[in-house]
Symmetry: C2
Subunit: 466 residues, 2 copies
Amino acid sequence: MSKQVDVAIIGAGTAGLNAFRQVKQVTSNVVLINDGPYGTTCARVGCMPSKVLIEVAKTFSRREHFDDFGIKGSENLTLDRKQVMQYMRGQRDWFVARVMDGVNQIGEKNIKGRARFVEPQVLEVNGERIQAEKIIIATGSRPIVPPEWHQFGDKVITTDDFFELDELPDSIAVIGLGAIGCELGQALARLGVKVVGVEMLSNVAGLSDPKVNKVAIEELAKSFDVWLETAAQLSETADGKIKVETNDGRSITVDKALASLGRRPNIDNMGLEVFNLDLSNGFKDLVNPHTMQLGDLPLFIAGDVGSLKPILHEVADEGTIAGYNAVQNPVQGFKRRVPLRIAFTDPQVVIVGASFAELAEQDIITGERSFVVQGRTKVMARNHGLLRVYADRQSGRLLGSEMMIPDGEYIGHFLAMAIENEMTVRDVMVTPFYHPTVLEGLDNALNAIAAQLEGGNQGPALKTMN
Amino acid sequence: MSKQVDVAIIGAGTAGLNAFRQVKQVTSNVVLINDGPYGTTCARVGCMPSKVLIEVAKTFSRREHFDDFGIKGSENLTLDRKQVMQYMRGQRDWFVARVMDGVNQIGEKNIKGRARFVEPQVLEVNGERIQAEKIIIATGSRPIVPPEWHQFGDKVITTDDFFELDELPDSIAVIGLGAIGCELGQALARLGVKVVGVEMLSNVAGLSDPKVNKVAIEELAKSFDVWLETAAQLSETADGKIKVETNDGRSITVDKALASLGRRPNIDNMGLEVFNLDLSNGFKDLVNPHTMQLGDLPLFIAGDVGSLKPILHEVADEGTIAGYNAVQNPVQGFKRRVPLRIAFTDPQVVIVGASFAELAEQDIITGERSFVVQGRTKVMARNHGLLRVYADRQSGRLLGSEMMIPDGEYIGHFLAMAIENEMTVRDVMVTPFYHPTVLEGLDNALNAIAAQLEGGNQGPALKTMN
């Protein structure tokens, strides 16, 4: 006889835990099934440990300015390459422990084991069958490693392994310069690791605006060698190191290679054949992003496994939506948030709303502001970067922005709220821009757009009163 | 025979320069009359030099964390107390030079000299008479120093003098803990100066929320002694130092006292008697803040001299409004920006929208978030502070916030835009909150409010689709 539940959730990561919390508001007849490590990708091997390393690297690299500032003795600062990793893990463990506090409260509804579909509404776990009205798949993803690199053992690592290293390596090749590759490449270089970054494409950190991309490459290249538009071939040297060779004839020998080539969904060996779906592209084109339902099946997909928006706040939303709809009839569609992507490089890369590439066909005005000569960033001795803001030429509505600027994360959120509320450039310009702030640079970019709109930007940038 | 102009502007600070730029769009028959130093209060002795010192202090104080991070040798870092002042002045001079580039472009329309009213529309400058259709007074303000302290000569200083000191003093008493006193007191203490701060009131940095004020006092007291609710009596010691004594019996002897007691408008010896106004409270209650006109006189008041909103972006607005209306008939009223005040302490004190005190009579819900245990601030090892957000109980509309949190300046701007657009707590909650960011703490505070609103905060914090 099989166990009967209203909802079975497969995967106790961020999406699964959010789904569980949501389902529990309606029914207690729910199980959360998890195979593999608890603690979420974010806390264990993602957002949190990387941000700790980035913070230490940013702090350590600040010593370049000490002498100018009148702070003496920076030449005697050194980095303990073991301790920095221990510190990072200590912080990480604290974050993981906080996740585990939540997991442990779930109690017996939390089943450890691998779930396998035997029918569309029947799972087998640890030899037991569970019949579920609705099933939520939230099994997450794992880093992509080309099969031909498996032979190099622990010389080729991913973010799953990196944070467990006893000490920082002497040298590393970062293969793939998306957000994670850029973040870790720059941080490691600043911590004294010899870094080379290799990327197939001509753009980094997902940027599509050529001007911002150019600035980003220049900024990253201040810390490490950036090799673009080339694949990397790896081989092992006689003394057990990794030789990286590019199509265009460059090569370097390093201790480790970090594969930061993206992630693939965990959909293998789950018995998904029972659904008779074409999963060659995963769930990506099959799931409704507003309901998280897969077609009209009693099946919901949430988080990285769906490959829709593998960013924590979106993954959390997907879990919540899936959990909400798993106990709702009919399902409810939700408007997803304004797109926001941040790479925690220094300066930070941010893409918000529509990207430059997405606006290729649209008649836009672009407002631009360099942060090389900008009051606040000069005060902070962080005067780098470029901001580009896109608005609709007819309506003046804000559409999106790409940037690599100090504290860009905040400018991204600020613009996201404006875009969500369909604000025009002039609507935003009436908000206060305090002096001296980075936001004044945004105001400059908005003014540059307003000058090209009908009516220009003469007179006070304030609302008139009757 | 007197010179005839359309507009005469008295004062070439931020307000006057903005007024000049605005007037010039309509008429070239305008003069800008200035007595005393050029370069703006902000760039010479205000925002800019103070922010540079604050940045150096923040950077130097960061060494407390180096050992934890694995950065070794911080015990050998020292501060060159002359060089830090030289560095600050070098930066300041750069900002002043940028202002002067603008001033120099004005050419012969820029008159150096003291303007004095001889009739409501006639000024005398350097013995010459100037008849003006409209006159804009933008003469700024100066720090308040009690007359009985003048006897102490250069032992009692203000922000007019401080940035010219050859080197940091060994010890200083900061008298008055408004925004400037808090900023400089904390920065100097972090730079190794022995600091005591004395304040008549029980609140610091203009805070009115007792909970936030308590946190702010605790944070400041980590760097220097904070003596509240007491006046300070000064006397000179035999060895030429300043003895500070309080009503409640505390005393300390210091090298310098910094009077940070606010600023008074520059309205003396200008012949303002011709207007027959009661100026016992300055222009404050006489000027229309939406037009900057004084009654129906051909007179406009802009910037610090008006004592309305002595904050740079507001002062700039006032100059622009005054300049716009000086050549406009009838005058146009402009809606002023959402109030935003920032003290660049660490963490930063921010008051945005309505303050707690201003909402005393209103039925509000308060959402609170401590930043002691918060993901991003913990990652940054800057986990301090408290955020309190106020919303209307009936409508859920955001009304204001007081906070002392890391990067509070950005949270302040974000909330200002939401308040300007009359957004509810739930409207803001649908914006993306990236992980891990300080803004997630704001989202928590908003959730705490939403939980108390009708309908609570069950289900996805997203807009539904039809």
